[in-house]
Symmetry: C2
Subunit: 421 residues, 2 copies
């Protein structure tokens, strides 16, 4: 068995990068980036690609009722809960090649290192690719991981339809048949992993700005989504005096000013975004009848989210520019704090390569947000250029990814040698 | 010849109202209101309807190169410039039955009263229906009146196309052939009227709120239109810290706050409307890359409009929430002040029926805005319910319209007896 510090050092960085570039060809777009909508043809090919890679490492391939794919390297004690490493292979419609795939390929690199170094370990090690993390074809996302962690029921997930009216269930049935035909084993019983580790690109600008290639992630911000309707009265822009107006745009403007003030009363970790906004009838010389907009509100502390939730609801009870307001919470995901021991282990692993690495809270969702409710979970981030993701321009530096994958292997090696329960 | 005060009193209110209801059947919508897009089948039928009405009163029918239709009651001195009365018979796609038609039918009622009372007058009296006031099928509107007044050239007007790719010129050619086939005389020479009078619904709530059936209009507000682009950078709503954001929505919000403050520094006659607003990419969890919105700015005083124009341009030079701004003036129509003597004459005529009538500035465009550059011009408004127009719910009270049409006849009679130049 290697020493605690060596699994990362033994990792074959060339092979890791060539695997990463290899998967990037599956669903590649002509101008760069890729398109691998969940359970589509390219996404299914990516599953088979992963299975092939696992077979070459003498791992068995498994899938479950949601199409999550697992590569299993057996442990000396097969009955122990596995160390689980992974992320997702599906993508947004016009995506970069790293978001999701990096974490799966990194898991593969850990399996390969264990295999090449002939590491004996008590507990099994599994690499997973979760189904439909992105939610781009079937909303909402993280279907596979949320179901696996018992956070959502399969029926609701299977009923979702894509824009062409194809049901999740229909696409999934094809996928499962394909996996079966290629020799993957169906796993009907639930598995509670010992640990879940996920490496992902940051999708934000902080690591790049700090010159850090990678870091441990201590948790995931909570996210509350709202849809707000401001209802006024359409009227002629020229003939309606100020005092007679029920201008839904001006009502929305005033309300948003108050929402911003409520946000400003908290710390600078609040993320407050109005990303969708529409007016009706949307005509240059007609006063708006209705304004509709969304709010995306995030913070790592549930108390702050709940305080703002209360403030928003109070503000929505008032009239703004003689318009009424209807505010509806459309989604509430509580913040998750990752396992403290795992955070320490990953932080130590990263700092073996990058002593100045910070600790970040993730601003984006990841499959780990659900796994954290099932087993000790933590994440690593690697830096990405200008925080760009969900776009073919998404870019990471090879040297940064190298640090991140070695830190992951380092931590995995440490967990396999020190945690034997 | 009747006394100055009697032409309005002699007017046949029953017949006026039945004519108004009669025209409302041309292009009527099943659920109420009408659809008479300019130069379409219903609009052309409305022209023929008007010609028939004129023939029954021994008026000759004329049309010009833009399809404007004139009914002429000859004067004792045919070489004198005519007293011109009218408005338009075309409509918005889903319109009320009064916007435009009221002013044409009112002119017809004046012709009928002159005929029934066998009034002899020196100058001819003409009633006009202008082509394409609404601009709903071919933008911009007021084609017939602006060309007639020498404010726009025919070539540009004729080149406009509707949503089906049909050119104004093509639709107009059919219309002119139809008018010719029905015996209207083509008028190739330009005519400068002695006076233009237009009765129109207010399209605003002021008269109704004041309990006044009608009033004189002293001018038309100037209207400046702008398109504003705020350019930021799309990014992830969860992962992008406040300090790294170039949030185009927040930039627009801050800029609009400053625009509102600039407006508030002027009197309460300013009309400031943001009726169109759009975000790109318009996604709940993506910081907006771009916000685009329109401004509709109106005031009766050109100095105020120009001061605000300067202020808006200054504000657009600054960055707002780390976003740049591009502001473009897309239309500038200067305010028009109507002829003072005509205002007095119409005011006196209205006050014969309604002593408490106010004087209003029109917030909407009308054909009169162009005629005012050609000859002494003024308007009357009649009250409309809740200021609603451009909608089948548009409504006027019969009693209010009766006052307005009698005031128009009163003023016409007075002009015919006192102005003999």
């Amino acid at each position: 068995m290697p020493k605690r510090t060596t699994l990362g050092e033994h990792l074959d960085g060339e092979r890791f990068w060539s695997d990463l570039m290899d998967q990037a060809r599956i669903g590649a777009l002509a101008g760069g980036g890729l398109r691998r909508l969940t359970l589509g043809e390219a996404d299914n090919r990516a599953r088979l690609w992963l299975m092939e890679k696992g077979e070459a490492l003498d791992c068995s391939a498994h899938y479950d009722a949601l199409g999550n794919v697992f590569l299993r390297r057996e442990g000396q004690n097969p009955s122990l809960p596995p160390l689980l490493i992974g992320s997702h292979l599906d993508s947004q419609p016009s995506a970069g090649v790293y978001d999701g795939a990096l974490g799966v390929v990194a898991g593969l690199a850990v399996l390969r290192t264990l295999s090449e170094q002939q590491v004996a370990h008590q507990r099994p090690v599994e690499v997973v690719s979760w189904t439909n993390e992105e939610g781009a074809r079937f909303a909402p996302g993280a279907s596979g991981s949320s179901w696996f962690a018992g956070r959502r029921d399969a029926e609701t997930i299977l009923a979702a339809q894509d824009d062409d009216g194809i049901a999740f269930k229909e696409a999934l049935t094809e996928c499962l048949a394909l996996l079966d035909a290629h020799g993957a084993h169906f796993r009907s019983t639930s598995v509670v992993p010992h640990t879940f580790l996920e490496l992902h690109i940051e999708q934000g600008p902080v690591l790049e700005a700090q010159g850090a290639p990678a870091c441990v992630v201590t948790g995931i911000q909570g996210v509350y989504w709202y849809e707000v309707e401001v209802n006024g009265q359409a009227n002629h822009a020229g003939t309606t005096p100020e005092a007679s107006r029920h201008d839904a745009f001006m009502g929305a403007h005033a309300l948003i000013g108050a929402l911003k003030a409520a946000v400003a009363a908290h710390d600078d970790q609040v993320r407050f975004t109005i990303g969708k906004f529409a007016l009706a009838p949307n005509s240059v010389n007609t006063i708006a009848q209705q304004a509709r907009f969304t709010i995306d509100l995030r913070h790592p502390d549930p108390a702050v989210l709940d305080a703002l939730d209360g403030a928003f609801r109070q503000l929505a009870k008032r009239e703004w520019s003689s318009c009424t307001v209807h505010l509806e919470a459309t989604s509430r995901v509580a913040p998750v704090a990752f396992d403290e021991h795992l955070i320490d282990a990953l932080d130590e692993a990263v700092k073996a390569y990058c002593p100045q690495a910070p600790k970040l809270v993730s601003g984006a969702f990841h499959d780990a947000i659900h796994l954290a409710h099932l087993c000790p979970t933590a994440m690593l981030f690697t830096a990405c250029r200008a925080g760009i993701s969900h776009h073919p321009d998404e870019h990471i530096e090879r040297g940064d990814a190298d640090v991140a994958v070695r830190a992951l292997a380092h931590a995995a090696g440490q967990l396999l040698t020190t945690r034997k329960d």
